[in-house]
Structures are given as C-alpha cells and as structure tokens.
C-alpha cells in the first residue's frame, strides 16, 4: 500500500545536513526538501490545476464576452437581483453577526442547562439544508403552514403570504439564512470569548465595572479582530448562499427574490446562456475580490490562530 517514493536523489539526501555540519545553512536539505515537497503536494496540485485553475481560467475567458454583459444589464430581473443581493448581505449578515455577538455572551455562561441548550442550538448547522429548508417552506405556506395557523389562533387574522409576496419572500430568505448559520458563528464567537484571559474580567470587577462597561472595555477590544474576520468571511459565503434562496422561494414569485448566486445558475441552466450566468457571478467581483485579498492577508498573518 504505502509505496516508497521513487526519488533516489532525495532519499540519499534525507540525512539532515544540520547533524553533520550544524554551523552551516542547509542547502542540500533545501534541495531535497523541494523534491519531497513537490511529491507531497502532487495530488493537491493536480486537484488545483484540474478543478480550480482551469474552471477559473475558463470563466475569465468567457467573461470577456461583452455582449453577455449587455444582455444581463438589459434585463430588469438582473437589477432586481443585484438589489436583493445587496439587501440580503446588508441586513442578513449584519443581523446575523449582531445576534451571534449577543448570543455568544449567553452561551459562554457556565450554567449546565445553557450548555445543553448549546448542543441543540447547533443542530440547524449539522442537519442537511434540503429537508430543513423544505420544512420551513411548508411552515410558511400561507394557507396551511404552521406559522399562519399560529398567527390565526393567537390574533384571529390571516397571516401574510410569506413566500408569494416578494418583500416577505426576501425577509423569509434572510430568516432561513439566519436560522441555518447563526449557530455556527455564535459558536465561533463563544470560542473567542473563552480565550479572553479571566484576570481581565477580575480586574474590571475590582474596579466595579457594570456589564456594559465590561463589554466595552474588556470583551469588545479582545473580540474585535475575530468579529471582523468572521463578518468578512460570512459576507463572502452569504454571497454564495444558493440553498436558502433556491429551496425556499426558488427565486420567485416572478424571479423577484433571486440573488446573484441563484440568478447565475438560472441564466446558465434554465435559459442555457452560460456566458450570462458567468458574467452575473463576475458582477459580484467588486465585492468579492477585495474581500478575498484582505482575508487571505489577515488569515495567513494570523496563521489561523484565534486572534
């Protein structure tokens, strides 16, 4: 099974130069490490070239077709989609992260029942999108869903058309997105709070700080870097949240609740216009690329350690 690699040169050089000549820099080691490095990286390089570099290169090539931009910019649905995406990001991401920040304080408490609740709280994240979002779709059905039944029982009025009115549709999408992803970000921020040294809080308690002062002067300064990184990460991934939209409203009614992710797929696979699909995704590049560059720097600098 575990075949020895066939790098005779590297094999003979495997004895560390440092043990023979400790004072010198280690050129032979570096030479053999390069060969070994390529050997160990070989499978990933293949995956990267075949499934990342080539599709991206192909997409860039297709995205030079200026007529495709004209086609989507002439389509009023595209502008509606771009607007929806902006609302989805501004409201969805911010609401989710503020709730996560607030709830991370709750779930960081040591009470046993809160920790048990925490295990259940993460279920939406572990359970597959498909059945849970379909279940929510049924709950929001205006005639026979659980939500409107509850509204009718409590207030004796008919609840709104959650999925067939575009404004409610987008709000429902945001709610589903938060239901699905809030637990994960809360857990990340809980971990961040746990890493704050206890004695900072002890010192604040000695000074008689109130809860709000504790948050402003101890928690927030310690948590800020992680919070910003998380917000940027989730902005990118929310941009790519296909399931919450597609499975809940399918972009309807009349394509008025699409976001860029579902609209691109729709152009490409429903209308068989691959160029339009790709340039729809490309039109998110002004948001996407700066965030990716900023985050790559932040994360490689942090070395992945929790800040």
């Amino acid at each position: 099974m575990l075949r020895r690699p066939s790098f005779p040169h590297a094999m003979t050089q495997a004895i560390p130069a440092s043990s023979a000549t400790p004072a010198l820099p280690r050129p032979p080691l570096i030479a053999s490490d390069t060969a070994w490095g390529l050997f160990f990286l070989f499978p990933y390089i293949i995956v990267f070239v075949l499934f990342v570099a080539y599709p991206i290169g192909y997409a860039i090539w297709l995205a030079t077709d200026l007529k495709a931009y004209a086609r989507i910019f002439d389509d009023p649905i595209y502008w509606r989609t771009a607007w929806n995406t902006l609302i989805f990001l501004l409201v969805g991401v911010n609401l989710k992260m503020i709730l996560a920040l607030f709830l991370s304080g709750f779930f960081a408490l040591p009470n046993l029942w809160i920790r048990i609740l925490g295990a259940f709280f993460l279920l939406p994240w572990a359970v597959p999108h498909i059945p849970s979002i379909m279940s929510i779709r049924w709950m929001l059905n205006s005639e026979w869903g659980m939500v409107n039944t509850l509204i009718f029982d409590l207030f004796h009025i008919d609840g709104p058309n959650w999925l067939t009115n575009p404004a409610y549709g987008l709000s429902s999408i945001i709610a589903v997105h938060i239901w699905k992803y809030l637990p994960f970000w809360t857990m990340i921020l809980v971990a961040g709070r746990m890493a704050i040294p206890r004695d900072l809080y002890d010192a604040a308690a000695v000074d008689g700080a109130t809860a709000i002062q504790r948050f402003r002067h101890v928690t927030w300064p310690q948590l800020k870097a992680l919070f910003l990184t998380s917000t940027m990460l989730t902005t990118i991934w929310s941009l790519g949240d296909f399931n919450s939209v597609y499975l809940l409203t399918g972009g309807g009614p009349a394509d008025r609740t699409n976001t860029l992710a579902t609209m691109g797929i729709r152009y490409a696979f429903r209308q068989a216009d691959f160029e339009a699909g790709i340039v729809t995704m490309v039109s998110a590049v002004p948001i996407l690329v700066p965030l990716v560059i900023l985050l790559t720097r932040r994360l490689s600098k942090a070395g992945g350690r929790q800040q």
Binding site: L2, R4, A10, I15, P16, S18, S19, L29, D33, W36, G37, F40, L41, P43, Y44, V47, V52, Y54, P55, I56, Y58, A59, F106, L109, L123, A126, V127, P128, H129, I130, P131, S132, S135, I136, E143, W144, G145, M146, T149, W179, P183, F184, I188, I236, G240, N243, Y246, L247, A261, G264, I265, A268, F269, F274, L288, V292, L295, S300, G303, Q306
Partner: protein
Amino acid sequence: MTRRVLEQIGLVLLGIVIFFWTMAPLYNMLIMSITPVNAIFAGKFWPDNPTLGNYATVFRQENHYLTYFWRQLFNSAFIAAASLIVVLAVASLASFAVGRLKLRFAPFVNNLALATYLIPAAFLAIPFYQVLAFYGLLDSQWGLVFAVVTFTTPYAIWVLRNYADSIPFMLDEAAMVDGASRWQIFCLVYLPLIRPAMIAIGTFALLHAWNEYLYAFLILSHETRVTLTVTLGLFRSDDSAPWPLLMAVGVLYSIPPAALYFSVRKYMVTGLTSGGVKD
C-alpha cells in the same frame, strides 16, 4: 437578590425563545413525517392520526418519487465515504509539505489554498460544470466527489497545518537523525499526531458531501446515480407531491449527520476554532 432572580428569569426566557426558534423547523419535519399523506393540509401542531406508515412506504419504495430510495441512500453514503478518503489523503500530504518541509514556495501554496477556500462554491458552479463535461465526468459520481474534494481540501490543509504548528519540530529532527526518510516521518510521526484534527476535518468532509445539493443536482442526472438530496429537491416544485413522504426521508437523512455531529462534537469545536472557520 431580586436583581439576580430577574436576571435568571430573563436568561430562561431567552433560552425558551432560542429553543423554539431552533427546533420549530425540525419539529415540523418530524410531525409532518408521521401525518397520513392525505391529511396534510391542516397546519396542526400534532397530527390527528399519527402513523409510521410513511416510513414503511419509504422503506418499501412504494412511491414513484422513491423508486430508488435505497440505491440513492447508498449513493449518498458512497460519495461521502469517497470524498472523505480523498480529502484526508490529499490534505494530509499537502499540509505536511507546507507545514513541515522547508519550501520556498510554501507561502504561495498556502495563499492559493486560502483564496480557494474563500471563493463561494456556487460562484464556480457554471465553469466547473463545463470543465467536468470536458473531462467526461458529467453524471459520474466521481465528478461530484471531485467537486467536494475541490471545495473541502483547501480548508482541510489550512486546519491541519495550523494544528501541526503545535507539534515540536524536534520530533521530525530526531526521526531524521535516526535515518528516517520524509515519507517515514509523515507516516510514523506526523499522521499519528494530527489525528484529532483529521477527525475534525474528516467529519467536516463527510457532512459537506452528505449535505451537498447544488453540485449534486447539476452534475448527476440519472435516477440510479443521484444522491437522496437531489430526489428531495424534486419535491420543491410540486406542492401536490406527497410531502409527508419527503419529510420522512428528510428525518431519515438528517439522522446520520446529527448523530455524527453529536459524537465528535468535542473534536469539531477544537478543529474549527484551531483552524479558523468554515460554515
């Protein structure tokens, strides 16, 4: 004293709200799955005649939506297992190279992997589909395995490398003095030590593959090759479809990931927080 009591009451109220918010969709799934198929248009909080008949129908594949239930369940499991193995192999090898060897291009590889990890998968779906067509991997389960591998491996490399940073280099050096090759160090020193992180990313890869929907329905089409997620998606455009059956399948399909999550929760939290984040 009263302040403390009020505080506790506030916490409990908040806990109740969180509990209902979290569990309502899952509860709805559960009660719909035990509602008789014809009695569904009710919006009840508990069905009048609860039945396990829907599960029996699913198991016996007695509905035209579910002719290949067992086959498709097997497909989901096969794709998850294959993805798990490929991700663990590719990522552990690559993380050893960038984390343990002295390579001039290690930072470059790291940044490439990080940038890949940041791109939303949905944004690459269209060119990915076309490239798979070019490779002849459309409607092939390996096409879907490679899609999962593509989007999971960068994160896995990153988590493993960060986790391995805490392993002293002295171990590698001691092994080298004893005449171990890089390959032996990888097998005998590195792999055993990164086991907790491997469990975390292995779980992550399994969940990702099992739950994947977009790439599954784009890549796979023949009904004996699709995963169960694709079949569940078919109900989407059909309000007159037998939804209680869909929900029974949904409950069954949710049990393995939920069970896996509960059993390796300890590792997940360590893995995810030591390696940063991925939702």
